[in-house]
């Protein structure tokens, strides 16, 4: 009966000297271990706006909004902090070498107004179809594809034109005035349905096939 009590007494005295295991938060800031999975953060210089992270996110914490009426059309990538479960799927499946979105060490995520403060956004420039005005994809994404497939990109005007624009080799404001469908339109930046229509209708013999 006595021995156990002494054993526990020793532990109690030890605890007196080692102090509490808990830290003095918020007086003393908490620094998480570097492996800690905190809030994912976008890097707008690396992200290409491909939406793979939105597709893979199991919690539906990522969404986007396409602003096509702006002078420079933009895609707004939105990450909802309050919905995120910090699983890291977005980073793991990010096509931009897992660098477009990265889990950070940030864990102090409380906010006062859920509607206004519970999300973070980045903006990516969009490329629109020159004929119908629909969204083709983000400029950086098209460049990313063009670079990945190398010279094959020259078989697709949408890809190589977007890439050339970056080097200033194509006049950004040059939009053909003629709205008729012509063979020349096939060398424009087009969305897939317009390209199909263009190829079919501009073909003189298409009726005969």
């Amino acid at each position: 009966m006595k021995l156990p009590k002494i054993r526990e007494l020793i532990e109690a005295i030890k605890a007196l000297f080692t102090g509490p295991y808990t830290s003095k938060f918020p007086g003393k800031p908490h620094v998480p271990h570097k492996n800690f999975r905190g809030q994912p953060k976008y890097d707008s210089s690396k992200c290409v706006g491909c939406l793979a992270c939105e597709e893979i996110c199991p919690a539906g914490a990522i969404s986007h909004r396409d602003e096509v009426t702006l002078p420079v059309p933009r895609r707004i990538m939105i990450h909802y902090t309050d919905t995120c479960i910090f699983c890291g799927s977005c980073e793991a499946y990010c096509i931009a070498n897992n660098e477009g979105i990265k889990l950070s060490q940030d864990w102090e995520l409380s906010f006062f107004d859920r509607k206004k403060e519970s999300y973070e956004t980045i903006e990516k420039e969009l490329v629109l179809c020159e004929i119908c005005g629909k969204v083709i994809g983000c400029k950086d994404h098209l460049i990313w594809i063009a670079e990945r497939i190398g010279e094959l990109a020259f078989s697709n005007p949408t890809l190589y034109q977007t890439r050339l624009k970056r080097f200033g080799l194509v006049d950004e404001n040059l939009i053909s005035a003629a709205r008729d469908k012509s063979r020349a339109d096939r060398f424009k930046i087009l969305c897939a349905p317009c390209r199909r229509a263009m190829t079919k209708e501009s073909e003189p013999d298409s009726e005969m096939v």
Partner: protein, 394 residues
């Protein structure tokens, strides 16, 4: 003597989850017990049918906040059963390490709560302080204290970094020392002996009849452990022994859990020390049509998952059975005959997880309760009759 019914729940200040026990008592003795669940049905199985195979682990991870690796483990095993792929050895080891870390923290959590139930808050504080250290270890290994997000069909998502291993092993060793003191303090405390010995006895035959699982069955002398019976992961590659005791009372359940923590620590340590090199992901291709089952020995007993695939990228059916589903009915044999004061700890001794167990919603149709076992069978029989008639008419 007049019978009185004592309701426990559905909102009980002590038990974390909503459940309702009605204890029928005569004087001080419990003569009957009834359990009612269904306050927290979350539709997990349906939800997982709307997710891709890769996303489901995150859903099932949230079935239980404590065994947040057991459900993904059983699920990925079920998916791997369908596709018949082999998992890289390093991934198997990492899975085992995470699963054992979870067992340690889960058993410690229960031990602390048991102390709290008994009015031994010192046990509660000390054990939970210790648990804090193991949670820190898990944060280093997986990136989070809980919800480790490590499992994916075909492997694991994150690797264990070599430079973390020495620190983790040092930490585990320091935990063992404190735990050893704690074990002795708990296991030879005379008051705990008086409170726990000989109460809530689950006899060996009853454990078999109720198909009790995990520590609940092992405390009653039924040597049942998926890790030994059908080894998976790295469980057959490292040395460890199954803890089995004979008496089946609450004290034996404490003993089994406390000793299992030591086993888990030794499994974790030997896995960390002999972690093979290599890939961590088998990069599973498309899931072929078929069905598969996966079982994992969760801290509370065997977790069972069934997954059916039609070849698309989402499961068409996903069935989950948590261990508490099997363990809870044993209260019929343990609580009846006990004193009211002991009822709380006896009910808690199976380490229940009610929310994880809830799979079927009880509906009220015309103010009448539907969907108990008998009624389901009646509905099923009626449907067959109806179909028979319809088809006969055509």
């Amino acid at each position: 003597m007049a019978k009185t019914i004592i309701p426990i729940g559905p909102f009980h200040p002590l038990q974390e989850e909503p459940e309702y026990f009605s204890l029928t008592v005569e004087g001080e003795t419990v003569v009957d017990v009834d359990v009612e669940l269904g306050y927290n049905h979350r539709g997990i199985e349906k939800l997982s049918e709307s997710k891709t195979y890769d996303q489901v682990p995150f859903v099932v991870e949230r079935i239980c906040g404590i065994c947040s690796t057991s459900h993904p483990y059983a699920y990925v095993k079920a998916v791997e059963d369908i596709s018949g792929c082999t998992i890289p050895e390093r991934a198997e080891y990492i899975r085992t390490i995470i699963a054992e870390g979870e067992r340690i923290h889960s058993h410690l959590l229960w031990l602390g709560l048991a102390g709290h139930f008994l009015g031994y808050n010192t046990v509660y504080m000390w054990v939970w302080k210790l648990r804090e250290e193991i949670l820190d270890v898990m944060e280093i290994l997986s990136g989070n204290r809980n919800n480790y997000a490590m499992f994916k069909p075909g492997g694991v998502r994150r690797d264990i970094r070599e430079e973390d291993i020495p620190f983790v092993i040092k930490k585990i060793d320091s935990i063992v020392k404190t735990l050893d003191m704690l074990k002795k303090a708990i296991l030879d405390d005379p008051v705990l002996h008086a409170r726990l010995k000989g109460i809530g006895i689950l006899k060996r035959e009853d454990a078999i009849d109720y198909s009790a699982l995990g520590p609940t069955s092992r405390a009653s002398g039924v040597a049942k452990d998926v890790r030994k019976d059908a080894p998976y992961g790295a469980y057959d590659k490292v040395e460890w022994k199954m803890i089995v005791t004979e008496k089946g009372d609450v004290f034996d359940k404490v003993v089994v859990r406390v000793l299992e923590v030591f086993e888990s620590i030794s499994i974790m340590k030997s896995c960390l020390l002999s972690l093979p090199k290599g890939p961590i992901d088998a990069n599973l291709a498309d899931i072929v049509p078929g069905e598969g089952i996966g079982v994992h020995e969760a801290p509370r007993g065997e977790t069972f998952h069934y997954v059916r695939s039609d070849g698309s990228n989402r499961p068409t059916r996903h069935k989950v059975r948590a261990p508490t589903f099997m363990n809870l009915p044993t209260c019929k044999s343990t609580v009846i005959g006990a004193a009211i004061a002991d009822a709380a700890i006896i009910l808690a001794s199976i380490d229940p997880c009610y929310c994880c167990t809830e799979r079927l919603a009880v509906c009220r149709i015309d103010g009448k309760r539907m969907m108990n076992g008998g009624e389901l069978i009646r509905l099923s029989v009626e449907k067959t009759e109806k179909l028979k008639k319809e088809m006969g008419r055509r």
